[in-house]
């Protein structure tokens, strides 16, 4: 898919909703695109070297100790926690059918978020929702 078409696709994702067209084109340029086949692991629980992934097409399972806990779909992102904390992922992410993602390496996440504060704010909102869900679940 050409860059402009990808830039249009991510305009519909909450994470990038506040960006202008040139900024979205830059996102598409800075991130790389990657496909995964059915059953292929995108991230591996406990292994170093993560990245920030945004699902473009398809679905992926969040698998912890071999048990599927949730499903990720287009517009969802993952890997951000291990990037922010500099730690290995705490779950396997496994493609369910063909999966297409945008990927930003962990080493680029800090500079990307600092230069795109609106994405940082949207990401914070996402993390807040996760904390809220976890808090509800624990209580």
């Amino acid at each position: 898919m050409a860059g402009q078409e990808l830039a249009d696709t991510i305009a519909g994702f909450a994470l990038f909703a506040d960006l202008s067209t040139p900024q979205r084109e830059q996102v598409v340029d800075v991130f790389s695109e990657q496909w995964f086949g059915d059953g292929e692991k995108v991230l591996r629980q406990g292994l170093s070297g993560s990245g920030l992934y945004v699902v473009l097409d398809g679905a992926a399972a969040i698998r912890i100790d071999g048990v599927d806990r949730a499903t990720l779909r287009a517009g969802d992102y993952f890997g951000e926690i291990s990037c922010l904390l500099g730690e290995a992922p705490t779950a396997d992410i496994v493609a369910m059918g063909s999966l297409r993602c945008l990927v930003l390496s962990s080493s680029q996440v800090e500079s990307f978020l600092k230069s795109n504060p609106s994405v940082m704010y949207r990401l914070l909102q996402g993390e807040a929702r996760k904390v809220r869900t976890t808090t509800k679940w624990l209580s």
Binding site: M1, A2, G3, Q4, S20, T21, P22, Q23, E25, Q26, V28, D29, V30, S32, E33, Q34, W35, F36, G37, D38, E40, K41, R44, G46, L47, S48, G49, G51, S98, R100, V103, L104, S105, S106, S107, Q108
Partner: protein
């Protein structure tokens, strides 16, 4: 050529077809400014032909015997450690001659269809049929994005004689290696050069990898910083218009500022695409502006079984992307080893049982550390190819050879095995990593980096022995006397 050679050596019956008239078709045309980006270092302390030399030789194909290895060193004139385009061409011809490689040249692939489990190729020389077909057709067709007016721009490969750019204002669209190659080539002549694309340029010396503009092409950066003869912009290109005496280029910076440039020439260095003909219609998924096929770690299409890829198209299989660094599969020094691994994989799929030599317990640690220090597959395909040794209660310890790391990590067959790789995190020196599969789990151990790239120290032996404790006695960490 590498795959055909490796298949021949394994005794796998195959047909190798090429639309070109002779070996090295791509290198009869590219690169534009006549010298490669990849080096062959003549003085390394190792003889050309040795495995150790391959670490320093990025251009030769990898033969099995010394007489078929390191051939580029013998065809280069010594004026540069980057071979010239004709030297690269000659190196490939020499490999073909010495190995008596059988290739049907002048045979053009025209169409593809599936017939049951077979893939059928229609070619200028009739039909070929096989259960597995490997496409090694390069990523060398220039590509232009759909920018209004860009049809007026010259493409990489369509440039006029270089002297005709003297005293001209030149706008180059694209800030990757091809854009900077052109800018470097025109630097002594152009009055002004503007390079623009949406994202900031990365430099390979900063990423510690082949990601980014290579050091050979960095001179335009220095000019932009010190002299102002070059302008480097992060901006999207909104349109290109012809004017009476040149071009009007409109851009919008990432800070949303519109800019206009009146220039004499516009050059599109906007990348290359993969000539896959009708493979997408058959179900091969592709991605990115280069239209690369999405591939498994064994370089098979993720969406169409039986369709494999070799050569620079292998960059569509990025591997683990640990720390954001992809495989080196887009370059000769990476894909020559992919082809060798693929040949073994295809031989096994055809029912061959490949040799997995036994290895003594006290040889395991020295073997793995020596591979980390000198193994060219590990050096050139970091985090992608690994040397694997398996431990069996009944069959002893077996050398599994070089395999894709992802295959090792995700395949239960390797429970009771260890793999060593070299890795880089983009900011430190490279270091070996050992992965141990035991009781269904994978444990990762990073070994120390070393300023002299010596991974055979006492500390490395001790740390590796500790990682291998599920399989080996710790006493084996001691150096042999």
């Amino acid at each position: 050529m590498q795959l055909a050679y490796s298949l021949s050596r394994l005794g796998v019956e195959h047909a190798a077809l090429s639309a070109d008239d002779a070996p090295g078709g791509m290198f009869r045309k590219w690169p534009l400014f006549q010298r490669m980006l990849s080096w062959t270092k003549p003085y390394t302390g190792f003889q050309p032909g040795s495995r150790e030399f391959e670490r320093h030789d990025w251009n030769s194909l990898a033969g099995d015997e010394p007489a078929h290895r390191g051939l580029m060193a013998s065809v280069m004139d010594g004026t540069s450690y980057f071979p010239s385009r004709p030297e690269m061409q000659r190196g490939l011809e020499l490999f073909g001659e010495r190995t008596r490689l059988q290739v049907r040249y002048g045979c053009r692939w025209e169409a593809t269809r599936k017939d049951g489990d077979d893939v059928v190729l229609t070619t200028s020389d009739g039909e070929y049929r096989a259960p597995r077909v490997v496409f090694a057709v390069g990523v060398a067709e220039p590509w232009k994005p759909p920018i209004p007016g860009l049809e007026h721009a010259a493409q990489y490969g369509e440039l006029r004689p270089v002297e005709t750019y003297a005293d001209r204002r030149i706008f180059i669209i694209g800030k990757q290696n091809s854009g900077f190659e052109i800018a470097s080539g025109l630097l002594p002549l152009a009055r002004q050069i503007i390079l623009a694309s949406p994202s900031s340029t990365k430099l390979s010396v900063n990423t510690h990898s082949l990601v980014g503009v290579r050091a050979r092409y960095v001179q335009p950066f220095e000019d932009s910083v010190l002299a102002g003869g070059v302008v480097i912009l992060d901006a999207s290109i909104e349109g290109v218009k012809r004017t009476a005496d040149g071009y009007d280029v409109r851009v919008r910076t990432t800070a949303d500022k519109p800019l206009q440039f009146l220039v004499d020439d516009v050059i599109a260095a906007t990348g290359f695409t993969t000539p896959l003909r009708d493979l997408a219609d058959l179900g091969v998924k592709t991605f990115g502006q280069s239209g690369l096929p999405a591939q498994t770690y064994f370089w098979e299409s993720i969406s169409l079984r039986g369709i494999y890829f070799a050569g620079t198209i292998n960059q569509g299989s990025k591997g683990l992307m640990k720390h954001g660094i992809p495989s080196n599969s887009g370059a000769v020094q990476g894909y020559r080893y992919n082809a060798r691994v693929l040949a073994r994989h295809l031989a096994e799929l055809q029912g061959q049982t490949l040799d997995r030599p036994a290895i003594a317990a006290d040889e395991v640690i020295p073997t793995l550390l020596r591979e980390a220090r000198y193994g060219p597959e590990l050096w050139h395909q970091r985090s992608y190819l690994a040397r694997v040794i398996s431990f069996h209660p009944d069959r002893g310890i077996l050398d599994e050879g070089v395999l894709p790391l992802m295959y090792f990590l995700d395949n239960e067959r390797f429970d009771g095995a260890a793999a060593i790789t070299l890795e880089s995190n983009g900011h430190e020196d490279l270091y070996p990593v050992v992965y141990v599969r035991h009781d269904g789990k994978v444990h990762e151990t990073r070994l120390a980096d070393d300023p002299f790239l010596n991974f055979e120290t006492v500390q490395h032996r001790t740390d590796l022995a500790h990682a291998l404790e599920p399989f080996l006695s710790p006493s084996l960490s001691r150096p042999r006397t």
